[in-house]
């Protein structure tokens, strides 16, 4: 029982990192990222390829480029780097254009990455996915045990807390000030001497790093990943979490993530499956989330926890 609860909290925390990342891109900077699943995927696969056990590189007589058995911290860092690089590459052509274009490009890139994961079997083992992804300290605590779950939970929460602190500090910093100005009026901010596109790129990359790390954590949590776990549906879910929770507000992001994802996972436990139509209940859940998203946009667009203004008093500089 406890193991199950710990698992739920871990997965919710991972998604909260994703919502936080999206808040940095959209809430702080107004960047429309509809490709969250793609950055998540890159992080997960990079970590999985590096961390998974060497036994994975060999299946039914085929050799794959996976399973280097590298230590998990390096896997995390590699995931962050890969995701950051992806953000940079996407950003170069699109950040100087209107926001809508970023939206479309990110949708497509996420899907293309998924196609690559499915088709480039030599790298990703295709639809079989990668298994035997090692958890932290696996030699001491085997994966199916309670201590292993607890360790991963602690790690996830620690990273979430760290990312939250970074995001908050960024918001009140002069960098964050420029972002808030850009969100309101890019032209004026530009004329005040701020290189707007650089700020956008850095924000986009930071969001990417968060998402990549979340992906790595996810890979370690499930210990087995496959392409179907990264369909656009999850991008949409993260957006719903952010909008409902309150975009522009980091606590709103976490609240939205916890609320929606928590409910989501819980809902499966209590609703019975309709015989012969296993996809009905999950689909209904997504429909409900979609309707909720649109309702929130219409009735309370700023979400549950709207953004707070910043006032600065003399002598009130953050020490």
């Amino acid at each position: 029982m406890t193991s199950f609860m710990i698992g739920i909290v871990t997965v919710v925390a991972i998604f909260c990192i994703l919502v936080l990342a999206l808040n940095i891109r959209w809430g702080y900077c107004g960047l429309l990222d509809f490709g969250v699943a793609g950055f998540f995927l890159i992080g997960a696969y990079t970590a999985a390829i590096l961390i998974s056990a060497p036994s994975e590189s060999f299946l039914f007589g085929e050799r794959y480029t996976v399973g280097y058995g590298i230590a998990w911290p390096l896997g995390l860092i590699a995931a962050a780097v890969a995701s950051g690089i992806l953000a940079f590459l996407i950003g170069i052509p699109t950040l100087r254009l209107r926001g809508d274009y970023l939206a479309i490009v990110t949708i497509g890139v996420a899907e293309i990455l998924r196609y690559v994961a499915i088709n480039e079997k030599w790298l990703t083992r295709g639809v079989q996915g990668i298994r035997n992804i090692k958890r932290p300290f696996e030699s001491f605590f085997p994966p199916a045990s309670l201590p292993s779950d607890i360790i991963l939970l602690v790690l996830t929460l620690a990273i979430l807390a760290l990312f939250l602190i970074i995001a908050n500090r960024l918001y009140v910093s002069p960098f964050g000030r420029v972002l808030r100005a850009m969100r309101e009026d890019e032209v004026v901010t530009s004329f005040l001497g701020k290189p707007v596109i650089n700020f956008k790129m850095l924000t986009f990359i930071l969001g990417g790093i968060y998402m990549g790390v979340a992906g790595a954590l996810f890979a370690m949590y499930t210990t087995a990943i496959e392409p179907y776990q990264f369909i656009p549906t999850y991008t949409f879910l993260i957006w719903a979490c952010l909008i409902v929770g309150g975009s522009g507000n980091n606590w709103g992001a976490i609240l939205g993530g916890a609320l929606l994802m928590g409910l989501f996972v819980q809902a499966t436990r209590f609703l019975p499956s309709v015989a012969g139509q296993p996809q009905l209940i999950p689909a209904l859940r997504y429909i409900a989330v979609g309707v909720l998203l649109i309702l929130v946009l219409r009735l309370r667009p700023r979400g549950l926890l709207p953004e707070k203004a910043i006032t600065k008093e003399i002598g009130d500089i953050h020490a």
Binding site: P174, F175, A309
Partner: protein, 252 residues
């Protein structure tokens, strides 16, 4: 200090600016006037880097700044304000001014996150300077309010203060007294004069209010139908026949 040579700007089939050239000497206050729709706003927008000219070039301190990105132009020392005050309404007055300072260490993403001592120190410094600017504008009491609550004239003053915070060598002001009361206008005019005297700033001002232009400008340039009609001192402009015609009976 600022030289525009042979500027041409077309919009679709329309030639808004037709071979305009002007020169602004360092430390002077130059006015740009002309009837509405005469192309002076377009011309101004080209000089300030908002539009790229179809022909011609703009030189600042001898260097070609034609077609540069707006933030690069500001970095070089020219700051502009906007006709319809484009202040950042959600942010507070203080934040608007703080935003404008150049070379803020905290704007670097790593330093912003880590917030080391030198970033905090610079913030404190800038905060102090912002307070001075706001006090000079008589806006200090409202420093933590969102800009949205300011009146039109107050916004213009804030905008001028914000522009001065960027530490420019030259200011290009687009109707700096639009919507300001008589008292506010007088204050704004005073600030401009003081900035020229105390900091040696150069000004190019687009204005409609004749008393303002005549009052502070060393030189006035008249633009009509996209062309430079004439330039000269306030008296010369006042007495010029063509200028009077261009304004069709407006008080010149």
């Amino acid at each position: 200090m600022l030289k525009a040579e042979g500027i041409v700007k077309n919009f679709g089939g329309l030639r808004a600016v037709d071979d305009c050239s002007i020169e602004v000497e360092k430390g002077s206050i130059v006015g740009l006037i002309g009837p509405n729709g005469a192309g002076k706003t377009t011309f101004f927008n080209v000089i300030t880097g908002m539009y790229k000219p179809n022909a011609g070039r703009i030189l600042f301190k001898g260097e070609d700044i034609t077609g540069l990105r707006p933030d690069r132009i500001c970095q070089r020392g020219i700051t502009r304000t906007f006709q319809v005050s484009r202040e950042l309404k959600i942010m507070t007055l203080l934040e608007n001014i703080l935003l404008a300072f150049k070379d803020q260490r905290g704007e670097n993403i790593i330093r912003g996150i880590l917030n080391p001592a030198n970033v905090r120190e610079q913030e404190r410094e800038n905060l102090g300077k912002s307070v001075e600017i706001l006090k000079a504008m008589h806006l200090y009491e409202l420093r933590n309010e969102p800009v949205a609550i300011l009146s039109g004239g107050q916004r213009k003053m804030l905008e001028l203060g914000q522009a001065s915070a960027t530490g420019p060598e030259m200011l290009l002001l687009d109707e700096p007294t639009a919507g300001a009361t008589a008292a506010e206008t007088a204050m704004l005019v005073n600030f401009i004069k003081r900035m020229r005297e105390e900091q040696g700033l150069t000004f190019l001002i687009v204005e409609h209010k004749m008393e303002v232009i005549m009052g502070i400008c060393d030189k006035i340039i008249v633009i009509s139908y996209g062309r430079k009609l004439m330039e000269g001192s306030a008296d010369e402009v006042r007495q010029n026949e063509e200028v009077r015609e261009a304004y069709l009976g407006r008080e010149a």
